[in-house]
C-alpha cells in the first residue's frame, strides 16, 4: 500500500474519503476526527470476537459512547451477499466486491458519521480481513488494497495471532462442519471441507503475517489466557483514549 501519493489508508488518520476525493489537490490535509476506531483481526478461532466483546463491556462501564459494527452486516447489501453465498454464485472477484460494498455502506452511513461525532467505534474485522481472504482466493494484492482506499486507518488494529492448529482445534469443538465459502471450497483446494478449510486458512494466515509490518498491526498473542490478552488490549486502548479530546460520553 505504501506505493504512492494516492494512498489513503496510510497517510491520513480517520479522514473523510468523500471529502478527500473532492479535495484531491489538498491531499496532505487529512482531516482528523475526534472519534476513535479500534478493530480486531485474525483467522476464525483466534478469539478476536471474545476479546472485542470484553473491550466493549469495559469501555461502556467507563462511560464512553461505544458503537459496535460487524463484518457483513449492512442492511442494504447483506441480502445480496446471502443470495450469492446460498446459490454459490460468487467468484473471487464478486466475493471481493460485494464485501467491499457492504463495508462501504457501513463506513458511509455509520462508522464515518460516528467518528465525526466523537464516538468510540469497534469493528469485528476490517479491511485486513478482505485483504487476507481475497488474496488467498487469487485476487491481485494491489487491486484489493486500492479497492478499499476509501477506508480510514483505524486508531489501533489488533491482530490476534494464533497457530492454525490451535484455531482449528477451537473451531472443531465449537461447531459442526464448515460453510462453503468459509472453507474456501469455491477455489477447489480440496474436496474435503476440513482439509480445504485448513489449506485456505493457512493461506489467510500467511497474508496476515505479511500485513503486520505493512499496516503496523498490533499483534496480540492469542494463545495466552483470555484475561492476559484482554489486559493488554485494554492497556493499549487506554493510552489512545486518555489522550483523546472531544469524545462522547454516554448520556
Amino acid at each position: 500500500m505504501n506505493t504512492g501519493n494516492n494512498v489513503r489508508m496510510g497517510p491520513f488518520e480517520l479522514c473523510d474519503p468523500v471529502a478527500q476525493a473532492m479535495a484531491r489537490t489538498q491531499r496532505n490535509g487529512g482531516q482528523q476526527f475526534p472519534g476513535k476506531l479500534f478493530v480486531v483481526e485474525g483467522i476464525d478461532g483466534s478469539g478476536k470476537s471474545t476479546q472485542l466483546s470484553l473491550l466493549h463491556k469495559w469501555l461502556e462501564s467507563k462511560g464512553y459512547g461505544v458503537v459496535f459494527s460487524t463484518w457483513n452486516s449492512s442492511p442494504l447489501v447483506k441480502d445480496t451477499t446471502k443470495l450469492g453465498k446460498k446459490k454459490k454464485m460468487l467468484t473471487p472477484a464478486t466475493f471481493s466486491l460485494i464485501h467491499a460494498t457492504d463495508f462501504a455502506d457501513r463506513i458511509e452511513r455509520s462508522i464515518l458519521p460516528l467518528l465525526k461525532a466523537g464516538a468510540v467505534v469497534l469493528c469485528d474485522r476490517y479491511v485486513y480481513t478482505a485483504f487476507a481472504r481475497d488474496v488467498a482466493r487469487g485476487m491481485d494484492r494491489q487491486w484489493v488494497r486500492e479497492l478499499y482506499e476509501f477506508a480510514m486507518k483505524p486508531t489501533v488494529a489488533f491482530y490476534f495471532r494464533v497457530p492454525l492448529e490451535t484455531a482449528i482445534g477451537r473451531l472443531v469443538t465449537a461447531r459442526d462442519g464448515f460453510k462453503f465459502y468459509e472453507a474456501g471450497l469455491d477455489i477447489g483446494l480440496s474436496d474435503d471441507p476440513t482439509e480445504s478449510f485448513r489449506l485456505f486458512q493457512g493461506r489467510i494466515l500467511q497474508e496476515y503475517e505479511k500485513m503486520i509490518p505493512e499496516f503496523g498491526l498490533t499483534v496480540i498473542d492469542a494463545t495466552l489466557p483470555v484475561e492476559v490478552q484482554q489486559a493488554e488490549v485494554r492497556q493499549i486502548a487506554k493510552t489512545h483514549l486518555d489522550r483523546a479530546k472531544d469524545l462522547r460520553v454516554r448520556p
Binding site: N6, P17, V18, Q20, A21, M22, R24, S74, L76, V77, D79, T80, L83, G84, M89, L90, T91, P92, A93, T94, L97, I98, A100, T101, A104, D105, I107, E108, R109, R137, G138, M139, D140, W143, E146, L147, E149, F150
Partner: protein, 282 residues
Amino acid sequence: MRKTYGKQLPGMQLADLAGKLIVVEGTDGAGRTTQINLLKTWLEEQGHAVLDTGMTRSPLAGEGIRRAKEGNNLGRVTQSLFYATDFVDRLENEIAPALRAGFVVLTDRYIYSLMARAIVRGMDEAWIRSIYSVALVPDAVIYLRIGVDELIPRVIFSRGFDYWESGMDVFPGPDMYENFRSYQTALLAEFDKLSVEYRFETVDASADVKTVFAELQKKVMRILEGDSRKEYVSKRYEEMVEGALARPPEAQARDASSKDLEWWLHTAAARQAANGDGRNVA
C-alpha cells in the same frame, strides 16, 4: 489477443475470448436501448449469435441495487461498488462465456458510464479506474452523443424526470429540472473526456432513429469485417457443401432426412444456379 485495462481476474483466459465485444455508451435518453434492439435483430438475421447485456441485469446484484435505490440511504461509495459488483458478475458469467463461444456481445453501457457517474459524484478518479482495470477492452465503443437541450424534450415526453437521472443525490437544490440540467451537463463533460481517453466512436444521437442506426450498422460492419472467424466459417461452409455434393445420389437421399443438410443442398443448388455452374444437383 483480447486485453484488459491492466489487471486480469483469476480464471479469465484472455486467449479464448474470440467473439466481438461492442459497447454502446451514452447518457440517459440517448437512444441506446432502441439502437441495441435494432442491431441485435440485424446481426441475428446475418447469422451472428448475439448476447445483449446492460447495467443492473446481473442475477447477483441487479435486484439488490434496485432495492437500494428505492430508499433514501444509498451512499456514493456504496453505490459505485454495488454497480461494480453487478458489472463484474456479468463480465465473468455472461460476457466472457459469450465471447468464448464466439458471440457478438452488445452491451448497453460499460465501465465508462459507471466511471462517469462515480466521478460526477466526487469519487476519486484513480480509485474508480483501478477497480475497472479488470474490465476487458472492447472491440469498439460507440458513443451516442446528445446535448442536454436535445435530451430534455425526449425525457419530458417519455418517462419524465427520474430521481437518479436528475442527480438529486448529487446537487443540493430541490428543483428536479435544474438538477437534471446540471447533472446531465456534468455527465456529458465527463463522457467527452472519456471519449478521448478510450477512443470512443462518436455518433450524433440527435438525428432520427434510422439515420443513427445506419451509422451504427456501418461501424459494426467494419468491426465484423476484421473478423478472422468469417473466413474460417465460409471456408468450412464450402467444404461441407462440396462434401455433400461429392456423395452418390443414394447417400444424398439418406442425408436428405437431415433437415440441416437439406437446407445446405437447397442453398447450394441455388448458389450453383446463380453462378451459372452447369453441375447437376438433384
